[in-house]
C-alpha cells in the first residue's frame, strides 16, 4: 500500500540542537501507527513537521507520493492532516460547541452550516462525553473532559491523517475504549492514524504498527505484537532497563501517618475515610470527576466548605489553605505541572524555593529556611534531573524533567504525607520508572504516599491498596490478590462485584 504522508531524510535543527536527524517515516491509509519514544526523542517534532507547525531543515515531505511544503497548520488541514496536540489548545472562556467549531471547515465567515452542532453532539456521546454540555464553558471542565472535546474537535475536521499526541493521557480506561472504537471505525474508512501514547496497554490494544524513536532518530518499525514490552522499552531507552515497577515493600506496613475520617464536601464527595501508613502507597482510582480529585484538593486546603477530621501522625489538623497543609506536613503535586505545579518562566532554583518561601527566617531570602541545600542535590541526583543550571527557566526543561522539579520542590521539605495527582501523565518510561522507585523509597522511609492515577497499570502494579471512587464515595478498597485491572475497572463503573 502506498503511503499517504512520507518523510524522506528529514532533519530538523534548532540552532545547534538536532531535534530530528535523517528520518525516513511513512504512514499509510487504514493503519493505526503508534510512535513510541522517551520525551525528547523527537516525536513531537515529527508531529509538528507533519502538521505544518514547523518546517524541516533538510529532506522532503511527500503527500501521496508528491513532494509538498506545509507552510502552516491551516495548509496541513486543507491537505487532510489534522493534529490533536498534547498541549491542550482550547479557548477556556468559550463554550464546548464554540471550541469544536472554531476553525472547522465551512465556518470561516461566521456561518454555521446546519447540522454541525448536532454532529458534534453525536460524536461527544460516542466517546463517552454524554455529560459534557455543548453550552458548557471549557473552564468548567476537567482535564479529561477537555481532552474529549479536543478529540471531537479533531474528528469534526474529517481527517485523512489523524495525529493524536498523548490524546488519551487524562482519560479513564472506559472512555479510552470508546475513543478506540471510533478510531477503529476511521481506520476501516481508510484514515491513517498516528498514535502517540506512553501507555503500553493502549498501544497494544490499538496499534497495527509500532515505530520507536530515540534521540531524534527513527530506530525501528515493526508490526504490533511482534516484540515484547521489555524489548520495546530497551529500544526506547537504548539499554536494558529494570522492571518498570519496583517490587512492593516486603516488610511490614507501619503506623498510620495520614488518617481521614468522615470527610465530606457538599456536591463533591461524601463521608470519605482513609488511612495511609508507613511503607504503603495508597492508590486512588475511578472515572473522571467522581470526587477523587476534589478529595485530594480538600486534603491540601484548596476546597472551601470541607467538613470532617484530618490527622497527621496522630495530631488533628485544621487545614483551610495550602499553607496550613504544608505546615501540617502535607505536600501536593497538582495535575497540571505547567499552570499549577510550576512557574515555567521562573528559574529552576526559584521554583524549587517557592514551596519553602514562608520558611525563610524574617522573610529574608539570604538567610536559611531550615532546608539543607544537600537535600536538593540528593533529590536532583536521585531523579537524574537534566538541566543546564539552576538559573535556567523551568520552561527550558522537557516535560519529564519539569515534573521532577515539581516533585523535588516539595520533597525537599521532607513532608510526612505526599499527595500526587496523576504525576506520570504524558511522561516518558524512564522518568516514570524513576518516579516509581522514588515513591517506593519514600514510602519505605515512612512517608505516606497517596497517588491518584488515571492509568490502571500504575494502580495495579505500584500501589499496595487502591480506593476506587464512584459518585463521590469510595466504591471499593482493593488490595492483595483482589487488586486486578478488571476489579479496578468494574469498581470505577459502579459494578458491585466483578468476581
Amino acid at each position: 500500500m502506498s503511503a499517504f504522508v512520507a518523510m524522506k531524510g528529514v532533519s530538523k535543527l534548532y540552532g545547534a540542537t538536532k531535534a530530528l536527524t535523517g528520518v525516513d517515516f511513512a504512514c499509510e491509509p487504514g493503519q493505526i501507527h503508534a510512535v513510541l519514544g522517551e520525551n525528547g526523542a523527537g516525536k513531537s517534532t515529527l508531529m509538528k513537521l507533519m502538521s505544518g507547525v514547523i518546517q524541516p531543515t533538510e529532506g522532503v515531505i511527500e503527500l501521496n507520493g508528491t513532494p509538498v511544503t506545509l507552510p502552516s497548520p491551516r495548509a496541513a488541514q486543507a491537505a487532510g492532516i489534522v493534529c490533536m496536540f498534547q498541549e491542550l489548545s482550547l479557548a477556556a472562556d468559550l463554550s464546548v460547541g464554540e471550541n469544536i467549531l472554531l476553525g472547522a471547515p465551512g465556518t470561516g465567515w461566521g456561518f454555521l452550516p446546519r447540522g454541525r452542532l448536532a454532529r458534534a453532539r453525536k460524536l461527544l456521546d460516542r466517546i463517552g462525553g454524554e455529560a459534557i454540555a455543548l453550552g458548557a464553558r471549557i473552564e468548567a471542565l476537567t482535564l479529561g473532559e477537555r481532552q474529549q472535546v479536543e478529540i471531537v474537535k479533531a474528528l469534526m475536521r474529517a481527517p485523512k491523517l489523524l495525529i493524536l499526541d498523548e490524546a488519551t493521557s487524562a482519560l479513564t480506561s472506559t472512555i479510552v475504549d470508546k475513543v478506540f472504537d471510533v478510531l477503529r471505525e476511521l481506520k476501516a474508512q481508510g484514515v491513517a492514524i498516528l498514535f502517540i501514547s506512553h501507555r503500553f496497554h493502549e498501544v497494544e490494544a490499538i496499534a497495527d504498527r509500532v515505530s520507536v524513536f530515540r534521540s531524534g532518530q527513527h530506530i525501528d518499525s515493526f508490526a504490533a505484537g511482534s516484540r515484547s514490552q521489555a524489548q520495546i522499552i530497551d529500544l526506547m531507552i537504548g539499554q536494558p532497563m529494570d522492571e518498570l515497577f519496583p517490587p512492593r515493600n516486603a516488610g511490614d506496613i507501619g503506623d498510620e501517618v495520614l488518617k481521614v475520617e468522615g470527610l465530606r464536601l457538599p456536591g463533591g464527595f461524601e463521608d470519605i475515610n482513609l488511612t495511609a501508613r508507613h511503607g504503603e502507597i495508597v492508590g486512588i482510582g475511578g472515572l473522571d470527576g467522581q470526587g477523587q480529585g476534589k478529595f485530594l484538593q480538600a486534603l491540601f486546603g484548596i476546597m472551601k466548605g470541607v467538613q470532617g477530621r484530618i490527622e497527621v501522625n496522630g495530631v488533628p489538623r485544621s487545614i483551610t489553605s495550602p499553607r496550613d497543609a504544608a505546615s501540617a506536613g502535607i505536600a501536593f503535586v497538582p495535575e497540571d505541572r505547567k499552570t499549577e505545579g510550576l512557574i515555567p518562566n521562573m528559574s529552576i532554583g526559584e521554583n524549587l524555593q517557592l514551596s519553602a518561601l514562608s520558611r525563610f527566617r524574617g522573610g529574608l531570602i539570604g538567610r536559611g529556611n531550615g532546608i539543607d541545600p544537600a537535600a536538593y542535590d540528593a533529590l536532583i541526583a536521585e531523579l537524574e534531573l537534566k538541566f543546564a543550571g539552576l538559573d535556567a527557566p523551568v520552561s527550558s526543561l522537557s516535560g519529564g524533567n519539569q515534573q521532577k522539579v515539581a516533585l523535588i520542590k516539595w520533597l525537599a521539605l521532607a513532608p510526612d504525607c505526599l499527595l500526587l495527582l496523576d504525576p506520570t501523565r504524558g511522561i516518558d518510561v524512564k522518568t516514570k520508572a524513576q518516579i516509581y522507585r522514588l515513591m517506593r523509597r519514600l514510602s519505605a522511609q515512612g512517608m505516606a504516599v497517596v497517588l491518584l492515577s488515571t492509568d490502571y497499570d500504575e494502580l495495579v502494579n505500584l500501589c499496595d491498596r487502591v480506593l476506587v471512587f464512584y459518585n463521590g464515595q469510595i466504591a471499593r478498597s482493593l488490595s492483595g490478590d483482589a487488586l486486578t485491572p478488571e476489579a479496578v475497572v468494574a469498581a470505577s463503573m459502579g459494578v458491585a462485584d466483578a468476581a
Partner: protein, 313 residues
C-alpha cells in the same frame, strides 16, 4: 541565565532615549548640557520616580493601581492642612498622617483585589472617584487651604552638596525597594504571583498577604509623591495628581516591566522615569501643544506594549 545584553536590556532602551533627547535638545539649546539643567531634571524626575515605584510593584503582580491621582492629592491636602493648622501636635503629625492616608487607601485597594477578587482596574478606579468626591466635599470645591511644612519644602526643593534632596530620597527609596525585590520573600512572591497566582497559591505562598502589601506599598508611594509635590509647590491643589497617572504607568512600561506581571527590573523603571521626565521637558521647551504631548505619550505606551505582546504559541 541570559547574556549580559539581554539582562540589561530593560533600562537600555529608555537610557538610549534619554541620551538622544539630551543630544537633540542640546543642538538647539546648549543649556541642555549644563549640570544645572540636568540636576533640575533629576529633581523633577524624583517625584515621578517615587510614584512610579509604587505603580511598578502593583504592575509586577499583574494588577494596576488607578487611584494614584487622588491618593496623591488626598495625602497632600491632609498634610498641608495639618501643617498649617497652628496646633503643634497636628503639625508634627502632618507627614505621618499623609503617608498613613496613602497606606490606608492601599489597604482598601488590597481588600478589593485580594479578598473580594474584583479586577484592580475597576476597583481602584472607583476608589479614585470616591476620593475625588471626598476631597470636593472637604474643600467645597475650592482650592484646599494650608501650606507645606518646613521639612516637606526642604526635602522637595533644597539640595545637599549640590544634589537635590528629592533625588537623594528617590535613591534611598529605590534602594529599599530593590532590596525588597531581590532579598525578601515578599519580592520573590511578588514576581511569582505575577507569573502565576495559582501555582504560587498551590506552593503555599500567602498570596492574599502579598497582594495586600503590594497595594499598601503603592498607596504609600503615591502619598510620598504627593507630599514631595506639595513641598515643591508649597501647597496642595485640586487634581494635582491627574498629570501623574499616565506618566507613572508609562515610566514603568517603558522601563520594560511586563504589563501582564511577573517580569521587570527596577533599573528599567528608573530609566523609564528619567526618559518620561526628559521627554516632557523637551516637549515644553520646544513649545509643543499639550494636545500633541498627550498623543505622543499614548503612542509611546502603545509602542512599548506592542513589543511585549503575548505570543500565540
Amino acid at each position: 541565565m541570559m547574556g549580559f545584553a539581554k539582562r540589561h536590556a530593560d533600562p537600555l532602551i529608555p537610557l538610549i532615549g534619554c541620551v538622544l533627547l539630551i543630544g537633540f535638545g542640546a543642538l538647539f539649546f546648549p543649556k541642555f548640557l549644563t549640570a544645572t539643567y540636568l540636576l533640575q531634571q533629576v529633581q523633577i524626575a524624583a517625584f515621578l520616580g517615587v510614584i512610579a515605584t509604587g505603580a511598578m510593584v502593583v504592575i509586577l503582580l499583574g494588577q494596576i493601581d488607578l487611584s494614584i491621582p487622588w491618593t496623591l492629592g488626598g495625602a497632600a491636602i491632609i498634610s498641608t492642612a495639618m501643617a498649617a493648622s497652628g496646633h503643634t501636635a497636628l503639625e508634627v503629625l502632618a507627614i505621618p498622617a499623609g503617608l498613613g492616608f496613602g497606606l490606608l487607601v492601599g489597604v482598601i485597594n488590597g481588600v478589593g483585589v485580594a479578598v473580594f477578587r474584583i479586577p484592580a482596574m475597576v476597583w481602584t478606579l472607583s476608589v479614585n472617584a470616591m476620593l475625588l468626591g471626598l476631597a470636593v466635599i472637604n474643600t467645597g470645591g475650592f482650592n484646599p487651604k494650608g501650606e507645606a511644612s518646613g521639612l516637606m519644602i526642604a526635602v522637595a526643593t533644597k539640595t545637599t552638596l549640590g544634589i537635590p534632596n528629592a533625588a537623594l530620597l528617590w535613591l534611598a527609596y529605590g534602594a529599599g525597594v530593590l532590596w525588597l525585590f531581590r532579598r525578601t520573600t515578599f519580592g520573590r512572591a511578588l514576581f511569582a504571583i505575577g507569573n502565576s497566582e495559582k501555582a504560587s497559591f498551590l506552593s503555599g505562598v500567602n498570596t492574599t498577604r502579598v497582594i495586600f502589601a503590594a497595594f499598601a506599598l503603592a498607596g504609600f508611594s503615591s502619598a510620598l509623591g504627593g507630599l514631595l509635590l506639595a513641598g515643591y509647590a508649597n501647597q496642595a491643589y485640586q487634581s494635582m495628581g491627574d498629570p501623574y497617572l499616565l506618566p507613572a504607568i508609562a515610566a514603568v512600561v517603558i522601563g520594560g516591566t511586563s504589563i501582564l506581571g511577573g517580569r521587570g527590573s527596577y533599573a528599567g523603571t528608573v530609566a523609564g522615569t528619567l526618559f518620561v521626565t526628559l521627554l516632557t521637558s523637551v516637549l515644553s521647551v520646544f513649545q509643543i501643544d499639550p494636545a500633541w504631548r498627550q498623543i505622543l505619550f499614548g503612542a509611546i505606551i502603545v509602542a512599548m506594549l506592542l513589543t511585549q505582546r503575548r505570543r500565540i504559541m
